[in-house]
């Protein structure tokens, strides 16, 4: 089963990071695609865009945002959306994603991915905003499940129920981050397999994996270090159920040389063919 939007399976990709620009342009490594953090290429007309243009000439690009703030009770930021769309068109991004979260209120951006209360009121709000954004972008938006560290006492549904209802009612895609499922499951005490069982896989256009930091009392989604086996296992499950989907490794702290990050991403091959290392 491929995704219902007809978006391509780009294989295994990596998050594009500044420290890797030189290696990528000099060595043209065999990577399926690159994902960019959209906002890193906004409010700039200079060097970052020059490198992005060169990378986009050689590789498929997908845009991953952190400031759409789809769950905020602030109005949508149309200046942001216009810049997002212009960037999408500039680099020919295959799709655009952002998080099931809000990042600020009253005009202040915390630059964090803050949790949403999973209520009917919030669902109706987010559904209408996703529809508005998709109408503007003239393309499906992929919504990612975030790592969360608290839950609201007033939530009336589980995150996976909210995500399923949102994506079906707004007719949008899912960027399923299996590391975030694992992190939130640990922090809130739910079963990650139960989460994965509830996902409408025909909407999954992309999968994320990453490393995390287990403090014993909680797990923080630091995107540091190698991906742990329980997270790879979830990737294998999700990939199989989705009938294949683009896979991306995020590595954002203590970023290693490109070949190390690339080798880590390619470990996914062992888990999606059903052969554990």
């Amino acid at each position: 089963m491929a995704n219902r939007f007809g978006l391509p399976n780009l294989g295994i990709g990596l998050g594009l990071r500044t420290v890797h620009y030189g290696h990528i342009l000099e060595n043209a490594p065999d990577v399926g695609w690159f994902e960019i953090i959209s906002e890193n290429y906004m409010q700039t007309a200079g060097k970052p865009l020059w490198f992005l243009d060169r990378v986009a000439e050689r590789y498929p690009i997908v845009m991953h945002g952190v400031s759409l703030s789809i769950g905020s009770s602030d109005p949508l930021n149309w200046d942001y959306l216009r810049e997002l769309k212009a960037l999408r068109d500039r680099v020919g991004a295959r799709w655009v994603s952002d998080h099931l979260c809000w990042t600020g209120i009253a005009g202040r951006n915390t630059h964090d991915l803050l949790p949403i209360p999973y209520t009917e009121e919030a669902l109706a709000h987010v559904v209408s905003r996703v529809r508005e954004v998709q109408d503007f972008l003239e393309a499906p938006l992929a919504i990612e499940n975030p790592s969360t560290y608290v839950e609201f006492s007033g939530s009336t549904m589980k995150e996976w129920e909210f995500l399923r209802a949102l994506t079906e009612e707004a007719d949008c895609g899912i960027l399923l981050d299996v590391n975030n499922v694992y992190v939130s499951a640990y922090n809130h005490g739910f079963d990650p397999d139960e989460y994965l069982a509830a996902i409408p896989y025909d909407r999954v256009v992309q999968l994320h994996v990453a490393g995390h930091t287990n403090n014993g009392t909680n797990i923080v989604d630091t995107h540091v270090g190698p991906v742990l086996d329980p997270v790879w296992r979830l990737l294998g499950l999700a990939h199989e159920r989705a009938g294949g989907a683009s896979i991306l490794l995020e590595w954002d702290a203590d970023i290693p040389p490109f070949p190390v990050a690339h080798a880590e991403a390619k470990k996914a091959e062992r888990w999606i063919t059903g052969v554990a290392p």
Binding site: Y80, R108, V150, F152, G154, V220, A253
Partner: protein
């Protein structure tokens, strides 16, 4: 000391100064487990709209003091023991500790961004004082932009207006404000749009009699900075791991520019500074040249300036410092790159 050699590449390339935002969460301090959920007395959830909950959440996690005060700051809750009516405890941590991940992460992420933009200021201040400065920055300048690329733009203003702890701190603050100005200029130049610049060929093709009336505007990727301290000399010493001390006041000027994707810093003599400031201010070359005589009183320096001015121009043009050459309409030309 100003490097009086007409070499354009004093200071070398600067490759850092890109802050990358990620969707990750900053690593948090390890938290001790608190009482288990079995001990909890069930409290009915507080009924509030999404808007109200978000206002409370934002006020809590951006509160500059203790989170236990932050959760009471906006009036949704009147007592800390009501917190679980809004957010739940988890299997290992209580509600306040769990919320603390966001409280810690908010400032940590922005401090990290400022540290990326101002590594030399961080070195000059030391880590603890720099972090305190950043906390003051975050409080005074909350982000209102989707991107963090311009977040650090107010650092020099904050330093220049920050009350010194005592008389002894006044000079370092003035120096630090200038150092922040240099570091922010590097960020601005990195993000500036590359546009066509004046070429050597065009310069050489311009007839000598057209020069006095010509204007040579600044390229977008260039900043001219004048300081009361030897800021670039300090920055260069820091870049080359010489652990410089805070310098005594001494006038200096530096031009920062991007060329072929590299960032450059060039120290200027007073004669160079007077000439470039006039040109960047929109004056004709003829008028700008008169500043040299007005502002440079040292006979040797004046003589060297007269000998070297053509060399300076060739080097500035090679570095892409001018956007083009503008000739008066009567000369039959307007703007040429």
């Amino acid at each position: 000391m100003i490097d009086r050699k007409p070499s354009p590449l004093v200071g070398g390339a600067t490759e850092a100064f890109v802050h990358e935002r990620a969707s990750a969460t900053p690593g948090n301090p390890v938290l001790e487990a608190t009482s288990s959920a079995d001990d909890a007395q069930a409290q009915p959830p507080l009924v509030a709209s999404v808007d109200r909950l978000q206002s409370w959440f934002a006020a809590s996690v951006t509160h500059p003091g203790l989170l236990s005060k932050g959760v009471l700051a906006d009036g949704l809750l009147s007592r800390l023991d009501e917190l679980e009516r809004v957010v739940t405890r988890g299997p290992r941590l209580g509600a306040l500790e769990r919320l603390g991940v966001y409280h810690y992460g908010y400032r940590a992420r922005l401090v990290e961004c400022l540290a990326d933009d101002y590594p030399a200021v961080q070195f000059a201040l030391g880590d603890d004082a720099f972090e305190a400065l950043c906390h003051a920055y975050v409080e005074r300048y909350p982000s209102r932009s989707p991107s963090l690329n311009a977040y650090g733009q107010h650092m020099a203003t904050l330093l220049a207006t920050r009350a010194p702890a005592g008389d002894a701190d006044a000079a370092p603050l003035a120096f630090l404000a200038e150092l922040a100005t240099l570091e922010w200029a590097l960020v601005e130049v990195l993000h500036a749009a590359a546009a066509p610049v004046l070429s050597l060929e065009t310069l050489q093709a311009t007839p000598p009699d057209a020069w006095p009336a010509a204007r040579l505007p600044r390229a977008e990727t260039v900043r001219l900075l004048r300081f009361d301290y030897p800021v670039n000399a300090y920055f260069q010493a820091w870049r080359t791991d010489q652990a410089p001390a805070i310098p005594e006041p001494a006038s200096s000027a530096t031009v920062v520019y991007r060329h072929d994707l590299m960032l450059w810093r060039l120290d200027l003599t007073p004669a160079m500074t007077a000439l470039l400031a006039g040109l960047f201010g929109g004056e004709t070359l003829g008028d700008a040249l008169t500043h040299i005589e007005r502002e440079v009183h040292d006979a040797d320096e004046l003589a060297e300036a007269e000998r070297s001015v053509m060399i300076w121009f060739r080097e500035w043009v090679a570095g892409g410092v001018f956007a083009g050459i503008e000739l008066p309409p009567s000369e039959g030309a307007t703007e040429v790159n």
